[in-house]
């Protein structure tokens, strides 16, 4: 990369008050897998003025295209999922309490004693627990099964809630110091980043932005989105856990942290669903080094992102994932750093402006 190819500082999308406000709105919206309407509406409102083409497809994905200029533009798909983990009300019991099922991977130990919001009207409810006075020591050795928990919306809820309604944790977005506390940072971070990139789309590529549905129940939206876009390459933009906590026994080092806060965007080499194309690993890590953006490699191993289905679409699509690290994903309150988010946005922009047809001209080598 020569000096004159370096990015002009004025073009780089940044995180300011407006972006933080938008993230707040996105996180506070409810969009449990299969019912992404609230987030979809926010996304559509934001991107309508900037995208060249917008389609909402059969599954509810928002597919937005921003065309670049010039010859031989690479078609780059970016995917961020709109859906979040949550609950579905499955039964109203005679005592006016509601039985529910989890949607997406939620540890049942995260449930008792939490506040929730039910349905499109965000009706407040609580998941209670038996008073400690009435439990035995033996009982407290076991997890409280989900079947035994109920959502309580008060005695006069009437017909305002019915089986099939979705619910989320009631957590409201908070910004404090370097950090953010919110629910659904997985993957509203990605959604917010895609919106900014559409607004600051590099001109050397065609940007194909997929705001996907049903990621948490099996990467379902991304599959059909990739089929429609049929891109030359793809990047899934997600949020991944930071388990950068101490080991219980301080003799022992934590060697399974996945990612760490403050270490910058997490570039994927391999998860259970994708082995990243090394050409794209290099693209991202080189861009980070050249632009002096901190980055980390996510520890190879478990988990999966939309890239897992995108790269297997049609005759194959070179793919990778980049995530904003965040702690306590899939629980009521996630915690992340504004800087990691901003650096992920910067890194993606820096990488996209470096995409040329030469990048994918040769054979995949790892």
């Amino acid at each position: 990369m020569t000096e004159n190819q370096k990015i002009q500082a004025s073009n780089i999308p940044t995180i300011g008050n407006r972006q933080i406000k938008l993230l707040e709105k996105l996180c506070n919206a409810s969009a449990v897998s299969g019912d992404e309407q609230e987030v979809r509406n926010i996304v559509l409102e934001e991107i309508k003025p900037v995208a060249d083409e917008i389609k909402v497809d059969a599954l509810g994905n928002v597919l937005a295209t921003k065309f670049g200029h010039g010859e031989n533009r690479v078609r780059v798909m970016l995917a961020a999922h709109m859906d979040e983990i949550g609950f579905m009300i499955v039964k109203k019991h005679d005592d006016n309490l509601f039985q529910f099922e989890r949607i997406g991977g939620i540890d049942e130990r995260q449930l008792p004693g939490k506040a929730v919001l039910v349905g499109r009207d965000h009706l407040p409810g609580v998941i209670g627990a038996k008073p400690i006075h009435m439990t035995t020591a033996d009982e407290r050795k076991n997890k409280i099964p989900v079947d035994a928990l109920r959502i309580d919306l008060g005695p006069e809820i009437g017909e305002k809630v019915k089986p099939g309604d979705r619910a989320t944790f009631a957590t409201r977005f908070k910004r404090f110091g370097p950090s953010i506390q919110a629910k659904a940072l997985d993957d509203r971070f990605g959604v917010a980043i895609l919106i900014e990139l559409l607004k600051h789309a590099p001109e050397n590529i065609d940007l194909l932005a997929a705001f996907t549905v049903q990621e948490e129940v099996g990467l379902r939206g991304a599959r059909v989105a990739a089929y429609r876009f049929d891109p030359d390459m793809a990047i899934a933009v997600d949020s991944t856990p930071a388990y950068d906590l101490p080991h219980w026994d301080d003799e022992d080092q934590n060697v399974q942290y996945n990612t760490r806060l403050d270490a910058g965007p997490a570039i994927y080499v391999m998860d259970r669903a994708t082995i990243a194309d090394r050409r794209l690993v290099t693209l991202l890590s080189d861009a980070a080094q050249e632009e002096e953006i901190p980055y980390q490699f996510r520890q190879p191993g478990g988990g999966g992102t939309d890239a897992g289905v995108i790269h297997k679409t049609r005759a194959g699509i070179p793919s990778i994932s980049v995530s904003v690290p965040s702690r306590y994903a899939h629980s009521a309150i996630g915690l992340a750093r504004v800087d990691d988010w901003a650096n992920t946005l910067r890194l993606l922009y820096a990488a996209l402006v470096r995409v040329t047809p030469d990048l994918l001209a040769g054979e995949r080598r790892g």
Binding site: I103, G164, V224
Partner: protein, 352 residues
Amino acid sequence: MIDLSELLNKMLTAPGLSGYESPIREILQEVWAPLTDELSVSKIGSLHGLKRGQGDAPRRKVMISAHMDAIGMMVTHIQDSFIRITEIGGIDHRILPGQPVIVHGREELPGVVVQPPGHLLPESVGDGPVEMKYLLVDVGLGPDELVKKVRVGDIVSYAQEPLELTGEALAGHTLDNRVSVAATTLCLEALQNRFHDWDVWAVASAQEEETLGGAFTSPFDIQPDIAIVIDVCFAKGPGASDWSSLPFGEGVGLGYGPNIHPALYDAFEKKAKELEIPYHRDLMPKMSGTDAMAVQIVAEGIPCAVIGIPLRYMHTPVETVSLKDIRRAGRLMAEFIADLKPDALAHINWEE
């Protein structure tokens, strides 16, 4: 008029395990021929019946997907006079001991699933349930005869004859999912004398119980604009009483969850109310466990509805269903299809 009991009896006595659907497919080709304009078979064995709409071309396409394959067993090994088996689809090994079966070898051989006595099994089994790998099938042949007639990979099907119970209830094996194929047939029959704009593609899909193979592939070729997936769902009964089971014989299930397009759910609900067809919202918080899991994500994605016929004792040889619910499902689908206007797709959207 199609006699439903007669149709079911014909379909239930035919085998047609996943991957080996030709016996049931051949019966269906005969039944569907007079009801459709064109019949074809997909490259992996699903049956496609096209009944053209009367609207102006190009016409929209609605696909009905009902899987025709059955669960069963397969020969893994032959040991002396006995056959060892594995499952095709999901079978609870606890229902197998003493079960009459047919081994489809070089000829059809009636047999029985044998639970060997405890002293011939690992000590850990004790008097507990016996896993499938320890069960045997005896077809009454000696070792020399047996290897001539049976080989590894032969299929084994349930042999239980269908039984008519009181109150228009029917019991038997493979009601999952032949009852939905029957409902699809009733729907095609009902459409014979009705005007419908859209082309109707009736699909008896293959391999649902194993790979959803038919459901992944047929829509790729047909490219329907919307799909109705019909399958059995859980009816309340012993051990099945929670929210995921519907009352027996009291109406069809309308699937609700991520596999189902909410606008199609609403449209079916409206239609059921209008026709006074009893129905229940069948909650599918995550996946539906039906062909819709695949159909929905084929190519660019296909909006799906899921219709359920409540069934007791699923995947046993005595699955039980109410004929009333089969008729209701057939009628509901036919009325829905007849009511599809040329521009109906504009209403299958994500605007609320």
